[in-house]
Assembly symmetry: C2
Homo-oligomer: 345 residues x 2
């Protein structure tokens, strides 16, 4: 097979473990020649990468649901790419694929690495490239399994989701509506809140920058909170805990307010509301559900096609912007799923 | 019917809401003549009262799983008594009963109050009077439903329980053993720990006063923690959170370390371990399970009779000691279920 490229692979590697918000010096920029994959493997050209709050956790040492990124390693990132060389029977040149590509322009996989990288073909007739990183990708899967499997909403119940304009939150609220629930978002600023209500069809959205979330919950959840899907932790989690109903379910998906703490995580001081209300708080890790992605992607793609679900991606171009672009998540600057465009499709 | 008594009813009432540990001035001591019950009601002579950590919560204002005790009201307390006057078809003079008697020598119930006070006959052939306040009473029911329904232990799993020598903890650990689990207690001091292991048959007991609980968990839970039954909250909850297994269940039964805080409750800073481990934390309130008490009392009475389960009560005599005796719970001074003996049976 021809070598289609005689190119340089620009990569971004973790240079050291950050303290607090990652700074430029926590990263190193490396170049290496693009090499062909070993027999049975593939070479993928990165088109777009998913930037996620969880990335901050992967940069820390210590036991978690996934091993930390090693110092000197290419930063872990899920993404969409185009197969440019393939000696695997599973992939053909030109295929669009998702998988753990890393923050680099080319990702090379041996035959034995394809499964670990979760490399899978995608169909751009089903969703756009960026939707495949959003509703049809990990955020959508996280929203679906977190809400449906952990949250177990019943029609008529009130679902509250923080980070409502973010990647996971937007799908949580829309799915809750589709399932017959009242959906109330929490987001920062009037533009996001307006979009969440007017475009996505949430029943209400509380602007946490505009006033006490407690007042917003009182006004917009007259029947209390049955499911709280938490992406933020901190004060907002504590406030929602004061408004939950008996047998409420709190889905712990993330805690973006706490990921860059240099002192201890703020634990939920109102956790005894779980006792008073016989409620539960439970964690979700999307990787547990990979066996069930297929039908759920089909379900969500159906909603997109029928116009019952919308999505918004916030696309920034240029792999070299990665260190700064990532910080937009922690500053609440992204509006929709944050995507780093690395090359044109 | 004769008036069998021309007596004075000594009562202890809540005089004001405590700040921190209750002090003597938070209580008032009142006397009133013992009066006959209204038609269809009963008069019960208090024999023994259950002193429980939850009482501290009942003294606070605010929404909880049960209304607070009002200022000037007789302090709420479950207890065992003897029916001394009855115009109810359900009870005969001489019956021994459990129910919400209050901290007073005589409790009078109208026909319409019997259900609310959960007045029920007990059989002293099945368990001793103090066992009816312990294994066969609310602590035993709390242990059973908290462990079995919320904790859902599977044979071979490791169950950790704090307050292991206390009323609920002693039954949690013994029940875990009966169900084929490894039971590890956490308690304060060598005497309690030795009793928990040697008398009750727990696999191990960690003395939180003797060294870091984390080291004790490492040594005694080599396969991690599958169910943690929490009676204490605070630092111990946070420490156990660092040792839980995937899909672990944390039963929030109480938080005795936090009940007398004058500043905020300490939330579990390690709560994101729930996310990493796809674990859950869930509250238990025993009153939800009253419909199922019957067969569970029979099951636990069977274990007592067969010698497979033991119980220990710490009995203090004299209703006038109530304010001081209650504090023993919060100082960890009680060894076994704390019972206030009010009169001889």
């Amino acid at each position: 097979m021809d070598q289609p490229i005689a190119a340089t692979n620009h990569q971004i590697r973790l240079a050291r473990r950050p303290v607090g918000l990652p700074v430029r010096a926590d990263w190193s920029f490396t170049d290496e020649p693009v090499a062909p994959p070993e027999e049975g493997g593939v070479l993928v050209k990165t088109l777009a990468l998913s930037l996620d709050p969880a990335m901050r956790g992967w940069m820390n040492e210590g036991k978690s649901y996934i091993a930390p990124v090693g110092i000197g390693e290419v930063m872990r990132a899920g993404g969409i790419g185009a197969v440019v060389v393939s000696t695997s029977a599973k992939f053909a040149v030109g295929d669009r694929v998702t998988g753990s590509l890393g923050v680099q322009e080319y990702a090379r996989f041996g035959a034995g690495q394809l499964a670990k990288a979760a490399l899978a073909k995608i169909d751009l007739r089903v969703g756009t490239l960026t939707q495949w990183l959003n509703v049809l990708g990990m955020p959508g899967m996280t929203a679906y399994f977190g809400l449906m499997d952990v949250g177990q909403p019943k029609a008529g119940e009130t679902i509250v989701v923080s980070g409502a304009a973010g990647a996971v939150g937007q799908t949580v609220g829309q799915l809750a509506k589709i399932k017959g629930c009242r959906a109330v978002g929490i987001a920062g600023g009037p533009a996001k809140c307006e979009w969440v209500v007017k475009e996505l069809g949430f029943d209400a959205c509380i602007d946490y920058k505009a006033g006490p979330v407690k007042d917003g919950l009182k006004a917009n959840c007259p029947n209390g909170v049955d499911v709280y899907f938490d992406n933020v932790g901190g004060e907002i989690l504590d406030t929602v805990l004061t408004r939950i109903n008996r047998k409420a379910r709190i889905v712990i998906c993330g805690a973006i307010s706490q990921y860059n703490n240099t002192d201890a995580v703020k634990g939920p001081a109102n956790y005894l509301s779980l006792l008073v209300n016989r409620a539960r708080m439970e964690g979700i890790v999307v990787f547990d559900y990979t066996d069930r992605f297929g039908p759920v992607i089909a379900e969500l793609a159906g909603y997109l096609r029928e116009g019952r679900m919308k999505s918004r991606e916030d696309v920034v171009s240029g792999i070299e912007t990665f260190p700064e672009t990532l910080l937009r998540l922690f500053r609440g600057e992204n509006f929709g799923k944050l995507v780093l465009q690395v090359a044109q499709a």
